[in-house]
Subunit: 233 residues, 2 copies
């Protein structure tokens, strides 16, 4: 397929980071094809958030792919392992936490690469962040660079001379900087879902790593998080 430099594929989880990344991709002039993956995550409610975000931000397309990673397990998000909870960001234990899903971002980017190649796009956006994050190996610059190199030898498009770019515009931003960027671009964070372990009625727990990082980000930015938290009610 002919290369179309204006089309981009975006991995959209429904969380704060990917919503902000979507807004940034649009600002950079891309026609954004969103891809959400249902992978058996404990917090599958984020899929509904992804649909709301895609509609709100005017994505050109929103595909939802399914792959059940519970077949492999090995993570608090896909297995019967408790999601770690803390009282504050500075109390989160160091090291890679139990919510790490083995090879998840490799799988997600592989699927985005497949979609990009079929629609003739060489631009893939992903909302990974290596500052206010959970220490996941597949959120670091080394990982993004290695995947970009792989994409160019793995595909027909790459072999025929196209150069894939994995855009990770949040990579070096703090959570508060991400939130400021999103607010500048009109992202409605009330539509997003970040919690790894929501209550049965889908309220964010407020104490998992993802909730803590989000809450601290809003506090540092001097903004109010529009979503409710079970822990604070």
């Amino acid at each position: 397929m002919t290369e179309n430099p204006k089309n981009a594929v975006l991995l959209l989880s429904g969380g704060l980071d990917s919503a902000t990344t979507a807004a940034l991709a649009k600002e950079r002039g891309f026609t954004v094809h969103a891809l959400t993956v249902v992978y058996g995550q404990r917090h599958a409610v984020e899929i509904e958030a992804a649909k709301r975000v895609a509609a709100s931000l005017g994505m050109a397309e929103h595909l939802i792919e399914s792959i059940d990673l519970r077949l492999f397990g090995g993570s608090a998000l896909t297995d019967t392992i408790a999601v770690p909870k803390s009282e504050a960001v500075d109390q989160i234990p160091s090291g890679i936490p139990a919510t790490y899903v083995p090879a998840r971002n490799t799988i997600l980017l592989s699927l985005a690469l497949a979609h990009a190649e079929v629609i003739g796009s060489t631009d893939i956006f992903v909302g990974v962040n290596a500052v206010d994050y959970s220490g996941y190996p597949d959120c670091r610059p080394d990982f993004i660079a290695a995947f970009e190199r792989l994409a160019n030898v793995a595909t027909k498009a790459g072999v025929e001379g196209s150069n894939f770019t994995i855009h990770a515009p949040l990579l070096h931003l703090t959570k508060s900087e991400i939130i400021r960027e999103g607010l500048r671009l009109g992202v409605d964070y009330g539509l997003t879902h970040s919690c790894y372990d929501p209550t049965p009625n889908h309220t964010a727990c407020g104490r998992c790593d993802s909730c803590l990082l989000r809450r601290k980000g809003f506090a540092d930015a001097g903004k109010t998080d529009p979503i409710p938290y079970a822990y604070l009610e």
Copy 2:
């Protein structure tokens, strides 16, 4: 998880190459965990072949994962695109054919990587071949090397010091050499399925690239292919 040097994950399609790779992995002393992926392939009958091969070769485990790549399409194997047919191997047009599935082997290796990390294995076997093959970019040595580098930065195991090895023991063998290796190790090729476009009763067509390469491999090896072909009946 503690690294277990004797466990390996093998991508098992049910075809001739992956069956031979399974036998080679066992010969090298690995306990082989087979992984088959149902990806919406036209020739889904190969899944039944994978089950037969796994049982025949004594795999320690055989997981079957599903991801419907028809959502993206773009290939004769996953979309409404005709499978190219020829009369002989030397009449196959040059270039990457319509049966190329965008990013397929990247996706399959990503899933194998997830499974390997969860079971504490750093060895992944894949039956790609860059001699008697269809010109797919993700069957070449460059691709295997790039994925190996990615695996070591993408995973918790890699970051913590493990070194993943992507074993592709067929990479530089001709199809007849592969068949001789398999026969030496007792592989029953009557259990395997290679055809991209089988008849409604699951008989190999005999004229797709995969059938042609297989038939030539048996002829060159001076052996009889135990499976029937619709085209030759």
